[in-house]
């Protein structure tokens, strides 16, 4: 599509995202109107708007909904971006951010702290677990300093299985009573417990790592024909790959630490957006960030409203939406990638 067409789509996506966030903050089991929301903001800016917002409603808006919506947006953006990069670096259309054992490692870390009863350390433990898994994966995949995509994928599978077995073992060995429930929620992925701390973690990760990745969009394009082509186009293949995988690990690790392993966002969004923007990464990456955020905000809003007052883990919604979309993509898109 032309540059103009892309700009229009991008603008529309950003508008949709802002709208979705605004609506999401007003939706929920409790009765919160738009005036309440604006009033809540106004109070914090020291202004007054309409009548005073009841403190509990203010609490709901400012401590529950707003952090949750923002976290969902940042996490969705980060996961979608990570997925897009993983698919390009490994040249595998079925790659997702968790491919290198990241989510299994994070789950293992998370389960350990839940069982030990130190849940406050969960984000740190999950992040650490993700990084350790990545380190293990890359160490195995590494032969003479070069990592081929195929080897990285296979090592990631092995580490993921190992970590999953470890997680299962710990659950079996030590989980009593309701710990099962908490662990399951985490494994399915959820932004339910989002606090402003989650917002800061996910937002910072997205900003810092995301910018770096978006700036290397051109380098990702060079990988289209394989390593030798990329090298002959002047790219330092090894360094670029290490840097990109490391960035994805940091970004995904931060997101998983905050919200568990939410599936399908990183897998599906890149394909959907690629259909709109084309495969060039300089257009794909910014758009996939915005669309990922939009997707997860909508999914989470559904997760907490469809069975009011009960709440579903958002990972269930993303799967229910993601799988049909996936099937649709396979059916309609006859391209080189899908055959």
């Amino acid at each position: 599509m032309t540059g103009r067409g892309y700009a229009i789509w991008f603008g529309a996506a950003v508008l949709a995202l802002l709208l979705a966030c605004a609506v999401a903050v007003t939706i929920g089991p409790a009765e919160v109107s738009l005036t309440h929301v604006v009033g809540s903001f106004a109070q914090r800016l020291g202004l007054s708007f309409g009548e005073a917002v009841p403190p509990l409603i203010d609490s709901i808006v400012w401590q529950l909904r707003l952090p949750r919506v923002l976290t969902a947006a940042f996490v969705g953006a980060g996961l979608a971006l990570s997925g897009a990069v993983m698919q390009s670096v490994t040249r595998n259309p079925l790659a997702d951010p968790y491919l290198l054992g990241l989510s299994s490692g994070a789950s293992l870390g998370a389960v350990c702290v839940v069982i030990l009863g130190v849940s406050f350390a969960l984000p740190a433990a999950a992040f650490l677990g993700a990084l350790l898994a990545l380190f293990a994966t890359l160490s195995i995949a590494r032969v003479g300093g070069t990592i081929t995509p195929a080897r990285a994928v296979l090592s990631g599978l092995a580490i993921a299985q190992l970590a999953a077995a470890g997680t299962s073992f710990i659950i079996f060995w030590a989980a009593k009573g309701d710990s099962y429930r908490e662990i399951l929620n985490w494994l399915l992925g959820s932004v339910a417990g989002s606090t402003w701390q989650s917002v800061i973690i996910s937002g910072t990760a997205l900003l810092v790592v995301g910018i770096g990745i978006v700036l290397s969009a051109t380098r990702l394009d060079a990988f289209a024909f394989g390593d030798t082509s990329a090298a002959s186009l002047g790219i330092n293949v090894n360094a670029t790959r290490w840097a990109l995988l490391g960035s994805v690990a940091l970004l995904t690790g931060a997101m998983v630490a905050v919200s568990g392993s939410i599936g399908f966002v990183g897998l599906i969004l890149p394909h959907v957006v690629r259909g709109l923007s084309g495969p060039g990464h300089r257009r794909l990456l910014p758009l996939v960030i915005v669309c990922g955020a939009l997707f997860l905000v909508i999914a989470d809003t559904l997760a907490r409203t469809v069975f009011d007052p009960r709440e579903l883990p958002v990972g269930i919604i993303t799967a229910f939406i993601g799988v049909p979309v996936f099937i649709l993509l396979i059916k309609r898109k006859r391209s080189a990638v899908w055959g």
């Binding site: 409790a30 009765e31 609490s59 709901i60 929620n185």
Partner: protein
């Protein structure tokens, strides 16, 4: 080495391993209990238990109990001598049963496997949850029946069609009566039911204004709370509290904090379990910016109940009574 020698070595090694594991697994036999004479019983007894028909032809004498509710039930009926093993308990025994249960053979804090159970040569297994009777638990009920081991699930915990909807004290009491029939201790069962019925009738549910309550079992991001048809709601009603989730048609349910904040309950009932203490839950409530503002948190209107007393069983009346007492003790 030659392949023949190798095969021989592997075979020897395998045999040695089998022998060693056989020695290790042989559990010391449980002491033969002195069985009180069975009086006032008429057998065979047939009951429908969670959709499975159970026929008992004589009083069970070697019983394994799973979970506190089952264990405490049998102890209260004076059957301590017939219990050859207990497992998966939810907390310490209440003081009035501590003496009878002093010599309880607690096998494990977790659900034991089938072999460990069979090593005790039981003739009956009384389970507190239906899920206790799974293939990787104590064994499936049909398989146990083939081995002439009777199995029984606390009726309050039946899933599916047999689930009590809602759970009432009548259901709980009828379990006691049924246990009396099965174990041939009808007078003791009747006495227990009468005693509990009297206690229940003597309860004075609170009638003050502030009576809405949240039953908070576990969960930090997504709280797991007592809903409309299980033991939490039953106990709260007996105490005169109104469950803010009474309209949710489930025993327990996960909810969002938002619904809780909007309802702003007057009182929060906290379940105290070793794996999830009341103190932890209070700390969560008081440290989270979202819940700090709740009336019950600000005024520390907390009711604390031990987990074992909240599962459907003989301690529910006590739990309701404790609730009423604690409510009276709350200043505002």
């Amino acid at each position: 080495m030659s392949s023949r020698a190798r095969i021989l070595l592997v075979g020897l090694g395998a045999s040695a391993a089998l022998l060693l594991s056989g020695c290790a697994a042989a559990a010391p036999p449980a002491p033969t209990p002195t069985i009180p004479p069975v009086l006032n019983a008429s057998y065979p007894v047939t009951v429908d238990n969670c959709g499975t028909s159970l026929t008992v032809t004589s009083a069970p004498e070697r019983v394994v109990t799973i979970k506190s509710s089952a264990t405490e039930m049998l102890l209260a009926l004076g059957l301590a001598d017939r219990i050859v093993g207990s497992a998966f308990l939810d907390g310490p025994l209440p003081s009035n049963l501590a003496d009878t249960g002093a010599n309880l053979n607690v096998m494990s804090d977790f659900l034991p496997g089938q072999e460990a159970i069979l090593g005790l040569a039981p003739d009956f297994i009384y389970g507190g949850w239906e899920s206790n009777f799974s293939a990787d638990g104590v064994g499936e009920r049909a398989a146990l029946a083939d081995l002439s081991i009777g199995s029984y699930v606390s009726p309050a915990a039946c899933k599916g069609d047999a689930m009590p909807d809602p759970l009432t004290f009548d259901t709980v009491f009828s379990e006691i009566t049924e246990a009396g029939d099965i174990f041939g201790v009808v007078p003791e069962a009747d006495a227990l039911v009468t005693s509990l019925t009297d206690d229940l009738a003597a309860l004075e549910p609170v009638t003050t204004d502030k009576r809405t309550a949240l039953w908070y079992s576990s969960g930090t991001d997504t709280p797991y709370v007592g809903a409309g048809i299980g033991s939490p709601d039953m106990i709260m009603q007996a105490a005169g509290l109104t469950n803010i989730f009474h309209d949710v048609h489930d025993t327990w349910t996960p909810v969002g904090w938002e619904s809780i904040i909007e309802a702003n309950p007057d009182v929060i009932v906290l379940v105290d379990a070793t794996w999830n203490t009341a103190a932890d839950k209070i700390a969560n409530l008081e440290s989270s910016a979202a819940t700090q503002g709740l009336d019950a948190v600000v005024n520390k209107r907390y009711i604390i109940l031990p987990f074992a007393s909240t599962e459907a069983g003989i301690r529910n009346v006590e739990a309701a009574a404790s609730t009423i007492d604690q409510l009276a003790g709350l200043s505002k």
